[in-house]
């Protein structure tokens, strides 16, 4: 926080959405129902890879209560979607590439009838050979999953001369790390509600992470005028990247247009597991060299990322794997080669950390291995190589803005857990029966990740503030509240500038009909970008109300003071409340603020779950599709966490703020891997690590 006295910013404030969430009144997308609505259910592919010879819907259509059964033949547009590359069919045509592919869409009077109808659709499949090993995808003779081949994206970068770097080094370590597929497992599965009015205007209230892009994707896939599509997506029950790509939206639009009735689609938990995007499985080989004094001199990285059946965000995720392959360290000689490929293994896309997570598991393990070989304190090794403000590092990112990595390392070095780690580790070696089988390890890991989308991509946010006749204001902001608390943070920013109590600010979230496009709710960018846009909008708003008041009071605007819902003259003799200003204004008082994230190579930036969760696939089929087989941490696994914030204000952010979201979740898994090694001397290079794997590893040592 930039030093200063604030009324709202930096204060512990109750979330604006907390009360309606604890009393059950807040409507999530899955909470919308209407009499006479149609329930949609999706028929998913029977095989992970097959040709579709024919689809027969006649029997399903005869089932009483079935309203419609739709296939690709009912779609007029390109029938494709995808954030980066439109290669995924809304409804499959002649081929399916993973078990989550949508083949047909049933609309029925009840969800039970819709479910029953799915069994009556006859699809004639011809199973095709599978591509499930991403290494095979790179081979010339591999079966091709898409016309353009199996490579979604590849990146190659060199700086300096790694061969020479290795020659002059005292220590070279080389390991291969394998990170697993993981599920977002948000509590509200994908859901939405659609209706169409007499003018053909579609209104879709759904889960999502970018209402304006969803609108474009629907228009493109169905060839429906974009201006006739209104997306409303303010709240959703968790997302973590998993609702960034299209889920229910296009299917909802199709069903509403075909039936003319209100429609609801809500994926089951099992359907979520098999159809949605996941965290990418990535294999990373790293060869890293250092001199005796700890200076890193060379680093070679080979990365292979399994994207599954369709592109979605595989390309950008690979970019982040590559960008983060050096961690937050300066290494003069670097070579990195990375590929993202198609397979029949489900589908992977955005997930908290977005590739940085996987890269850090590898790099932070390498750092500890090197530290041990050199007999160095692993934190000192990191400090020695730490990037600092002004540095150019990694694949050429420039650290131009506020950066507190070295300060964070100094803080960690001084922390009692690190200082007294020997004592803490040995505390269990007391010979008691209770502690006889226990070992304790202390681990450390670091991470770096930025706020925003990255160089070359338009990255902006816009906020509108308007005055109501009762003296309250409406704040329109097009980003989405997925649980991170940004609607509250943005309101705090507005309250501070307007000097208006938070309860007098009505927040209107993501709605393409009312809010301006503010980009995606991803990449740890919302508090930074939308927060700053709101600050600018609020300043513009204050200027406007001062103008109105100045005219009414017969003074110059520059002499007026704003505060507590009123504008006063400097001498305190004249004053107008916001409500009076609203009445005095000749036209509605409305101000906008737009913020573009500065064009700079800002380094970009679910920890514990990464350690032990895994989507298990066999031959393209998901084996654990429920929350009793895909185990997420429960209250028993909740760790105690102590946070020691190191605050370095970012002069470009609202009141010095920068989003925190992803970067703090990334080091958790490698820190625990390092702690496991510290405790039992076994180095795990493959995630997940489960109790069973640890026992098996200990058996081997014996």
């Amino acid at each position: 926080m930039i030093v200063g006295k604030y009324k709202y910013v930096g204060k512990r404030i109750t979330r604006i959405d907390a009360r309606p969430k604890v009393d059950g009144s807040l409507k999530y997308p899955s909470d919308l129902y209407e009499n006479g609505m149609v329930w949609g259910r999706v028929l998913r592919a029977k095989y992970p890879h097959a040709k579709i010879r024919s689809i027969d819907t006649a029997e399903a259509l005869r089932l009483p209560g079935v309203v419609t059964v739709l296939t690709h033949k009912d779609i007029r547009g390109i029938n494709r979607f995808g954030i980066e590359r439109q290669d995924q069919p809304v409804l499959a045509e002649d081929r399916v590439r993973y078990v989550g592919d949508a083949v047909a869409l049933v609309g029925a009077e009840t969800k039970e009838i819709a479910e029953e109808a799915l069994d009556l659709i006859k699809v004639d499949y011809e199973p095709l050979p599978l591509l499930t090993d991403p290494r095979d995808a790179l081979k010339d003779n591999a079966i091709k999953l898409h016309d353009g081949g199996n490579i979604v994206h590849e990146l190659h970068f060199t700086r300096g001369d790694t061969a020479r770097g290795f020659e002059g080094a005292d220590v070279v370590v080389e390991h291969t790390y394998r990170m697993q597929m993981m599920d977002h497992a948000f509590l509200e599965t994908e859901a939405g509600f659609a209706s169409v009015d007499r003018d053909g205007v579609l209104t879709i209230q759904s889960c999502g992470q970018y209402a304006f892009r969803d609108q474009t994707q629907i228009a493109r896939a169905l060839n429906y005028p974009q201006e006739k599509i209104r997306m409303i997506e303010p709240y959703t029950g968790g997302a973590f990247g998993g609702k960034d790509e299209i889920t229910v939206q296009i299917l909802l639009a199709l069903l509403a247009l075909k039936t003319g009735r209100p429609c609801k689609i809500w994926f089951s938990r099992e359907e979520h597991f098999i159809s949605c995007t996941h965290r990418h499985p990535v294999e990373i080989r790293m060869k890293t060299a250092a001199r005796k004094d700890g200076t890193l001199v060379a680093h070679e990285v080979w990365a292979l990322q399994d994207g599954g059946a369709y592109a979605t965000l595989s390309g950008p995720v690979l970019c982040l794997v590559v960008e983060h392959c050096c961690g937050p360290y300066l290494i003069p000689n670097l070579r990195v080669d990375g590929w993202a490929v198609y397979t029949n293994n489900g589908m992977s896309g955005a997930f908290r950390g977005f590739g940085a997570t996987q890269a850090h598991v590898a790099m932070e393990s390498q750092m500890n291995i090197i530290a041990e070989k050199l007999g160095m304190d692993p934190l000192q090794l990191r400090l020695k190589n730490a990037i600092r403000r002004g540095d150019t590092f990694g694949i050429g990112q420039e650290m131009v803005l506020a950066f507190g990595f070295d300060a964070s390392l100094e803080r960690a070095l001084a922390h009692p857990v690190w200082r007294d780690r020997e004592k803490i580790r040995r505390a269990l070696d007391d010979g008691t029966v209770k502690n006889r089988w226990k070992r304790r390890g202390i681990g450390v890991a670091c991470s770096i990740q930025g706020s925003g989308l990255g160089k070359g991509l338009p990255d902006y946010a816009a906020t509108t503030i308007e005055l109501n006749r009762d003296g309250t204001v409406n704040l329109y902001q097009g980003t989405i509240e997925i649980g991170q608390g940004s609607y509250t943070g943005i309101t705090q920013v507005a309250a501070e500038i307007l000097d208006l109590p938070m309860e007098k600010i009505h927040f209107i979230g993501a709605d393409t009909g009312r809010t301006l496009d503010s980009g995606t709710t991803t990449a740890s960018r919302v508090m930074y970008a939308a927060g700053q846009a709101t600050l600018l909008a609020a300043r513009n708003f204050v200027a406007k109300i001062k103008d109105v008041a100045a005219e009414k009071l017969g003074v110059t605007a520059g002499t007026l003071l704003n505060g507590d819902g009123a504008v006063r003259t400097g001498d305190g003799k004249g004053a107008l409340t916001y409500a009076e200003i609203a009445r005095a204004a000749k036209e509605p008082v409305r101000a906008e603020g737009v913020f573009n994230i500065p064009v700079a190579d800002r380094e970009f930036s679910m920890g514990l779950p990464h350690l032990y969760e895994q989507n298990i696939l066999e031959n393209g089929y998901f084996k654990n599709t429920g929350l009793s087989t895909y185990i997420v941490p429960s209250s028993w696994e909740a760790p105690e966490i102590e946070t020691c914030p190191v605050e370095i204000p970012d002069e470009t952010g609202p009141f010095g703020a920068r989003s925190v979201a992803e970067v703090v979740t990334t080091p958790t898994a490698p820190a625990i891997l390092n702690a496991i090694y510290d405790a039992i001397g076994v180095r795990f290079t493959e995630l997940p690590v489960t109790p069973e794997k640890i026992i098996a590893a200990l058996e081997k040592i014996k």
């Binding site: 109750t14 979330r15 959405d17 907390a18 009360r19 969430k21 604890v22 009393d23 059950g24 009144s25 807040l26 409507k27 999530y28 899955s30 909470d31 129902y33 977002h184 497992a185 948000f186 509590l187 509200e188 599965t189 709240y235 959703t236 029950g237 968790g238 997302a239 973590f240 089951s268 938990r269 997925i482 649980g483 991170q484 608390g485 679910m606 514990l608 429920g626 929350l627 009793s628 997420v632 941490p633 429960s634 209250s635 028993w636 909740a638 760790p639 105690e640 966490i641």
Partner: protein, 155 residues
């Protein structure tokens, strides 16, 4: 089709329904009480937890035919209850709410816990809430919320 009469948040309701319809669907689709959430439909996540005759149950596993004459408390009725209101207030203040989708289920499970054990230890709170999943908070602030409610109720 059967007709069942039971009470929800103190009000008597009679609904005509299939005997295998779940309590969760009745609440959400027939009675408009969407505060009770569905996260899995299989009793695995706890999001649909309500109180049935004072005991916490996952409403997706309770069928209509089991409801005759019984008493259901949902999150919408929680504010009229001393323990429930304290839990709601404490969870708001402690920052236990993020995306908030799991919170109604947690509040109901915590309400059942505090009814049986007004002074739970941290481990007893963890045990009492172990049937409810949360993906945002890491649970710590939910525990804080329950402990704050315990302290307030003791006064």
């Amino acid at each position: 089709m059967i007709s069942v009469t039971f009470t929800v948040n103190g009000k008597t309701v009679t609904v005509g329904t299939s005997p295998t319809r779940t309590l969760l669907d009745l609440l959400r689709e027939e009675l408009g009480l969407t505060g009770t959430k569905e996260g899995c439909g299989k009793g695995e996540c706890g999001a649909c937890t309500v109180l049935l005759d004072g005991k916490a149950v996952t409403s997706c596993l309770v069928l209509a035919a089991q409801l005759e004459g019984r008493e259901v408390l949902t999150v919408e009725g929680l504010a009229s209850d001393r323990i429930g209101k304290a839990l709601q207030d404490s969870c708001v203040e402690s920052g236990a709410v993020q995306c908030g989708y799991c919170i109604p289920g947690f509040l109901m499970a915590a309400r059942a816990l505090l009814q049986e054990n007004p002074h739970p230890t941290l481990d007893e709170i963890k045990e009492g809430l172990s049937g409810n999943l949360c993906r945002c908070t890491g649970y710590a602030k939910i525990f804080d919320g329950v402990r704050l409610a315990v302290r307030r109720l003791a006064k």
